[in-house]
Amino acid sequence: MGASPTTLRLTLHVWRQASRDLPGAFEVHHLEGISVDMSFLEMLDVLNEGLTSQGREPFCFDHDCREGICGMCSLVINGQVHGPDQEITTCQLHMRHFADGDTIVVEPFRARALPVVRDLVVDRSAFDRIIAEGGYISTDAGSAPEGNALPISTAAADEAMDAAACIGCAGCVAACPNASAMLFTAAKVSHLAQLPQGEPERERRVLAMVERMDREGFGGCTNERECQAACPKGISVAHIARLNREFLRSSVLGRS
């Protein structure tokens, strides 16, 4: 098997915070026998099991699908959103990326617009409110035309899909030096702006969504591109450029 060990000893510094309004702090824990085949969240499960057995409270962290699609898991691991690997979520990160004896600092996503709820859990409802402003096409059930009535080029469908792949995890916000939600907002605006179905609401949508994004207290974009680099779905900042274009076009030339 060579030199690489199959189990690890780790020192964890994990953020503990009882509630939104109370101050938090790091807690240090030592783990042994962590299998390299575990996912990062399974490693935290082991930590929590140990705490529970000792009669102490486990750490709260968000997760659900554990396969990188629901966008529920979060975490900043040693200063990196979703850990050191590219284009994966925390739940897809495996312990073989760490070395025996490593110290791992686990923090919640940090942004004013994503307040900590408890420990590593943050409140991402701002994203829902941004979508509620217009991240959809207003068609009631029953009023849809035949699916093939609107031909859409594969290029447009592909690019729309690239943007629509966003899982809403808020990693972009957490990674951005300005805690900006531009990539998230851009992904939805860009997805819908490229489809003919999105055309009727195109101007209204971008103006309303950007206004809400600003009101939620996110920062602005300074084109650092950290969001793209941290995004588990590899969503491109090209969509941010399109958002800027859509916003400026709708503001300056728009009919509303």
Partner: protein, 222 residues
């Protein structure tokens, strides 16, 4: 209708995060244009040994009826750019109330992008000193070329102007690509090209402006 409407529109558009960044980008791009003009004029310093060409250019400028207008415009551009920059920066800083204990980049940030505010502030300080040197505190009637050479030949001149233009160069490595992106001008095909052009712009303009203090300092020492 009318004024009220326009005001609301202005506020909504340029008060927004994207709108204010767009204004910064526009002002920044025009300032880049100004830098080229400024560099063109400065290069006359190398045209001859006694600075006659440069002085002639300076005198022509000073007597141009358009100068006050251009100066006012420039001042406005700078002020707008700076005020917006500081405001944007403050808002961005406030967007993260608690800092991370450990912060590691995913690799996308550049030295230029990381330091926009710092380089901007250095440029600002430099600008004040620069204006003080050559615009506000200049003895009447002397050859401007001579004054410039003397100032740049001094160690303090080298340090001040060296630092100023280096900061400027660094600022510009991120500025062009950022501004184009902010204005929505992006295409995957040209992305790498624009990145390189932006870096090159900062590098070339920085070096070009650096050449003045370097040449005069070394020349003066020799």
């Amino acid at each position: 209708m009318g004024r009220c409407h326009v005001l609301i529109w202005l506020r909504r558009t340029f008060g927004s995060s994207i709108g204010s960044k767009a204004l910064m980008a526009c002002t920044g791009l025009v300032l880049i244009g100004f830098l080229f003009a400024h560099l063109g004029g400065n290069l006359l310093l190398f045209a001859d040994a006694d600075g006659a060409a440069f002085d002639a250019y300076a005198t022509a400028l000073e007597h141009s009826p358009l100068l006050p207008l251009a100066e006012a415009g420039l001042a406005l551009l700078f002020c707008a750019h700076i005020v917006l920059g500081v405001r944007v920066q403050r808002a961005n800083r406030e967007a993260r109330e608690t800092a991370y204990r450990v912060r590691r980049t995913h690799g996308a940030r550049t030295p230029g992008s990381r330091t926009m505010v710092a380089t901007g502030l250095v440029i600002l300080l430099f600008l004040v000193a620069h204006l003080y040197d050559f615009r506000l505190c200049r003895p009447e009637g002397d050859s401007l070329a001579l004054i410039v050479r003397e100032r740049l030949a001094s160690p303090s001149g080298l340090v001040l102007y060296g630092a100023g233009v280096l900061a400027l160069g660094l600022h510009l490595t991120h500025a062009l690509r950022s501004a184009l992106h902010t204005l929505g001008l992006h295409h995957p095909r040209y992305e790498a090209l624009v990145d390189r052009a932006s870096f090159l712009l900062g590098f070339v303009l920085g070096l070009a402006f650096l050449s003045f203090p370097l040449v005069f300092f070394l020349g003066g020492a020799a």
